[in-house]
């Protein structure tokens, strides 16, 4: 017993260290993104994930390589958590040819076939039926993978969400819908947009098992995913998770962090539950990490992020011929 316990605690330490590393990498990466945006190296709409890292990290850390992930325009953090390289994400943001989408998609459209990352999608709610179709394909082939579909809480008010959940409940499809309830859709607070306060309850009317999860606690997110994945793999059953979180930055780069639709006081309250600090504190209490080790990790991540920037900066812009490429594929009909 004692040995098992020791093995358990060292496994836990390894896991926690890995989760911390993944979250910290996303955080430092996006801080760098904000810097690049201010310098004009990144353009267009750009939505940061800062504050919500435990959601994507907890969910994705539970997946197998052959599972699928699909998400919204707020996609950098999840892409990195899934294993899209910081270099190719940064190059995409810079609009360069070495970006994961060859500089054609930008911040909102990170795609990477190599890790079954099915994209950042820009139309609120529209990727929810698409995720459902991936789940349909999994069942069609008799596989036991799952697809995770991340969305903001505002997507729940969109018809595509309801149409998709109805089919997933009706046909029993292996999809896990993850609502990241960060309390706001742009400047509209959830209670000003939704007739119900608890988003997870939307699952009930579609016979979909649902749960509410603390999204600042990466381990709680993992626990919720464990049962959801079992249902998907063993029984082709969908799950709806409402994961409560908060974004620490504005909606996009042009939005002030606070002052218009939310108060500074509210923001400060939520900053106390920074998911990275929470995990660090837990690990320190358990003796799983020291300040020196955290500093070491920060240093290593700093190098990775700087390397991503340097790589993106050195990557060429797409050649003008690329304008007309990838509109259609040469077809192999016959």
């Amino acid at each position: 017993m004692a040995i098992k316990k020791r093995a358990d605690s060292s496994a836990a330490k390894g896991l926690h260290t890995e989760l911390l590393h993944t979250m910290l990498l996303q955080r430092r990466f996006e801080e760098k993104v904000a810097e690049a945006y201010a310098l004009g190296k990144i353009g267009g709409f750009c939505h940061l994930y800062i504050g919500q890292e435990a959601v994507g990290t907890g969910v994705i850390s539970m997946l197998r390589d052959d599972d699928y992930v699909i998400t919204t325009y707020r996609d950098h953090g999840q892409a990195i958590a899934r294993g899209v390289t910081p270099r190719s994400v940064m190059a995409e943001l810079f609009g360069r040819v070495d970006g994961c989408s060859k500089g054609k998609g930008g911040s909102m459209h990170i795609f990477d076939r190599n890790v079954n990352f099915l994209g950042g999608h820009g139309i609120v709610g529209a990727h929810v039926p698409i995720a459902t179709g991936v789940a349909f394909a999994i069942k069609y082939r008799g596989g036991n993978q799952a697809i995770v579909c991340f969305m903001g809480e505002a997507a729940v008010n969109n018809g595509a969400f309801h149409e998709a959940l109805n089919m997933a409940g009706l046909w029993k499809l292996p999809v896990i819908y993850v609502i990241e309830n960060n309390k706001y859709g742009m400047g509209t607070a959830v209670e000003r947009a939704s007739s119900i306060k608890d988003m997870y309850k939307r699952g009930e009317t579609y016979s979909i098992t649902s749960a509410e999860v603390d999204g600042q606690d990466v381990l709680a997110v993992r626990d919720a995913m464990a049962t959801a994945l079992e249902r998907a793999r063993d029984d082709y059953q969908p799950t709806l998770l409402e994961i409560r979180t908060y974004r620490f930055m504005g909606h996009s780069m042009s939005d002030a962090v606070s002052g218009t639709y939310r108060t500074k006081a509210e923001l400060e309250e939520y900053l106390k539950r920074d998911p990275i600090n929470l995990l660090e504190a837990k690990m320190k209490t358990a003796g799983e990490i020291t300040d020196a080790q955290i500093a070491e990790m920060e240093k290593e991540i700093g190098l990775v992020v700087q390397d991503a920037w340097d790589f993106a900066d050195a990557s060429p812009e797409p050649p003008l011929e690329a304008l007309y490429e990838d509109v259609l594929v040469e077809t192999t009909s016959g």
Binding site: C100, K104, P129, F136, K139, L328
Partner: protein, 327 residues
Amino acid sequence: MPLITYRDALNQALREEMHKDDRVFLMGEEVGVYNGAYKVSKGLLEEFGEMRVVDTPITELGFAGVGVGAAMVGLRPIVEFMTWNFALLALDQVVNAAAKMLYMSGGQFNMPIVFRGPNGAALQLSAQHSQSWESWLAHIPGLKVVAPGTPYDAKGLLKSAIRDDNPVIVLEGEMLYNIKGEVPDEEYLIPLGKAELKREGDHCSIITSGKMVLVAMQAADQLAKEGIKIDVVDLRTIRPMDVDAITTSVKKTNRAVVLEEGWEICGIGAQIVDYIQRDCFDHLDAPVIRVHQADTPMPYAKALERAAKPDLPKTIAAVKKVMYIEA
């Protein structure tokens, strides 16, 4: 050669392609148990089972999206819309997802998907059920759009659409499902993007597609009796359009009538006329004339509906006008 209906030609295409490739499946409202709202999918549920012939709820946006997702991971969905009027609810998936996925993913995710169903007016179905959407759909880079006008073309074009690795829109015609034509027993495909010269003549070109091919052929028959010989260019595919076929014909006849089922403003015909003026300016002996639906919603009353639709008398009158023949 066997004489079969347009409906059966489509049914054969679906059946053959589903036999050939088990990644192909059909999805839509009433496609299974009911055998298809227009019986195009008759017998397919029995033959292929409910995983491959999927009856959906009335949820166009939702099931179009399911098709997109399935195509993204390698299945080859055929999404049937009961009519294209209802597909309007699904256009976000067609336009923002299917047509864009390859481009915005930098070439990583192609979309081998077919969206099909009847387009345009039938009889006395009035405003919401009688619309022609070809110019809306053909406007979008990333889509292919085909509009078969005969049973032979319906089968050959649908088979090619299913085998294409891109999103293909197939515009059928409710009024065409019952028409008969020769369809060979042997397998054949019709290449997308190629027009067919359905009738040869050197006095005037009629450029058209889909349901209007029938009208153009009737016009050519009648005019032949008066000694007027018509070149009938059936586009078959609206996007990508076979511009060469159009300009070759017009350079030969020096006169053109462009016949389409939909509305005039920003219609397909406007695009065709643009190609003609760019390439055939010095060859034209008269301004090109367009025949199209009246610029109103479709009325219900018989006489009004007749007045609204492009038809044989209007087409003949247009040909005579470009030929400066007194009516």
